[in-house]
Assembly symmetry: C2
Homo-oligomer: 135 residues x 2
């Protein structure tokens, strides 16, 4: 994702541009990937950036709310942010901790249950847990 794309996306989602937000976006949205806040901070530090921890967390929360990144719930000990915004699912390898995308078309959802009374849908999260085959 180019700098131009990022600026367009910010505009589209009503997110004001700041140097720090651009730095975080440049790392996370560079390519399809799944990163924790800590990994993003490490990469920022590695490239000499001084964006504070508080700002990284604020920014990731903002990106989540505005649909600039997706939060993936697989591991209760840390939040993972996903640069792929479109509809898709995940494999989670419990041995390696690795997350892998499943394109929406590769997984069909048959019958779906009625929603609870008085609620409306937000989305469907599917995680297929796998482990390494030992033989």
């Amino acid at each position: 994702m180019t700098r131009e794309d990022i600026l367009d996306l910010f505009a589209e989602r009503g997110v004001k541009v700041t140097p720090q937000r651009l730095e975080v976006a440049a790392i996370l949205l560079e390519k399809p990937q799944h990163l924790s806040a800590d990994q993003i901070i490490d990469r920022l530090r590695g490239s000499g950036s001084r964006v504070s921890k508080a700002t990284v967390y604020n920014t990731l929360n903002l990106f989540g709310e505005r649909g600039i990144a997706r939060e993936v719930k697989v591991d209760p000990i840390r939040r993972i942010y996903d640069s792929t915004r479109g509809h898709h699912y995940h494999f989670f390898n419990v041995d390696t901790g690795e997350l892998q995308d499943i394109p929406a078309d590769d997984l069909e959802l048959g019958r779906q249950p009625d929603l609870p009374e008085g609620t409306e849908p937000l989305g469907v999260d599917i995680v297929i847990r796998v482990k390494n085959r030992r033989n």
Copy 2:
């Protein structure tokens, strides 16, 4: 679930019986429900029990490993334990934090993707996120 059922389940899963494990099981496995460690500790304290925090966490980890309870990954800030061991899925109401079971039969999974090379399946977690309808 009766005390007898719990003892049978422990035996079946190779879990040694201790008074503390029985107390935790009595609370969690009483009925179909979803509880955090903290809620379990509160209920133990409320009924005058003195089981330590460390033991509650150790016990819940053990229950998870041995399939005596299920860990539901829905909220990255705390672990939720599910007394329903069978195959089923969940609604998660983001407004209330409420988790609601979806029986396996109510949700059909059509085509499933090929697993990543060298891995074998552990299970499929599905969470349908919903919010309260406001109007």
